[in-house]
Amino acid sequence: GAGVSQTPSNKVTEKGKYVELRCDPISGHTALYWYRQSLGQGPEFLIYFQGTGAADDSGLPNDRFFAVRPEGSVSTLKIQRTERGDSAVYLCASSYGGGSWNEQFFGPGTRLTVL
């Protein structure tokens, strides 16, 4: 079946611009996660959704970052006033159900470059 998809695969923007990154989770997966992977680093947790609500947003670096999941499926990560330090690969993962450690399935990521 279809895996987690992320669009766009690459995004180049200028400093100060606004960007949106989209994640389509596996159908039926109620849990959704965003991670950020900087060059030479492992993925770092940003935010976790259970259904439509953000159950844990403790990893968002500052208030320029925001994520939504209005219908409990597709999620959008929004970054305002982008900075060069935001350049990274943004990964989305989904898992079946909540309340337990189900396998997180990762998408291929969106590579964001801020010039």
């Binding site: 993925p43 976790y48 159950a55 396998e103 997180q104 291929p108």
Partner: protein, 114 residues
Amino acid sequence: AQSVTQPDIHITVSEGASLELRCNYSYGATPYLFWYVQSPGQGLQLLLKYFSGDTLVQGIKGFEAEFKRSQSSFNLRKPSVHWSDAAEYFCAVGARDSNYKLTFGKGTLLTVNP
């Protein structure tokens, strides 16, 4: 807070040789432990996980890992490496009260020589 250390940034092995990738974690209780593999252009794929019970766990693609509490380690092993195993490998830990978020190490890049 939990953390993961992967001491080897880059490892090179010959095809057919054995492999061991090191992972050390820091966490006050028994953690949930994972190994993921990331190939270029691919998403992270789960190789194996440890939650409890038998400390030697088997995964996909012929990989295994052993949880050693006394050493706070969860090393990944494979008896005979194939060229297709060339990729980046990430160890991750999950805390039991952490809303299922994973904390990853920095990864080990594996190169396989023919």
